[in-house]
């Protein structure tokens, strides 16, 4: 059980939220948007690798 990934995603989310707030305050909405997008893509990559891991384990378990 790799719980680290949950904490990693939570940390990324908090950092992105803080960055977003700071960039919005300093009047750089486009940079804030970019950081949000980058964070979402990074998290999505982690989630996709985990989903493929799940599918592989199900496939080996049920001999599909």
């Amino acid at each position: 059980m790799d719980v680290d990934l949950i904490f990693k995603i939570a940390a990324i989310g908090i950092v992105i939220a803080v960055l977003n707030r700071v960039l919005n305050q300093s009047g750089r909405e486009e940079m804030a948007m970019m950081t949000t997008l980058a964070g979402v893509v990074v998290v999505l990559m982690m989630v996709i690798s985990l989903i493929s891991n799940l599918f592989n384990s199900v496939r080996t378990m049920f001999h599909l």
Binding site: I6, I9, G13, A17, V47, L64
Partner: protein
Amino acid sequence: MDIMKIVMVGIIAALLAVVLKEEKPEMAFAISIVTGLVIFVFVITKLNSVMMVLKHFAAKANIDVLYFSTILKVIAIAYITEFGAQICRDAGEGAIASKVEFAGKVLIMVIAIPILAALMDIMIKIIP
């Protein structure tokens, strides 16, 4: 105790998701997906021994391998479909979730057709 671990992971992940929901709803969603996946993978590895016993029984009872593997496939499809549909419903996309469930039902029916055909053959043989 494994259940303690799982409950702790669930509580911590719920806390993190609630913290993040205010600022970044998409990150909270990702946390809920990852938590579900982690627990799912952890539990499904425990199923291995049960599968061994079931296979042993099936071999003892002379059940055709085709039928047993069909049942296993149906169970796997049901698990995965339920998982995906729950995630979609969690994200507020009820329509996509019901489509995923529909696809799962159709695929289970397609897999189960050979068994239905075998049943039909037996019935036709019995009824002169």
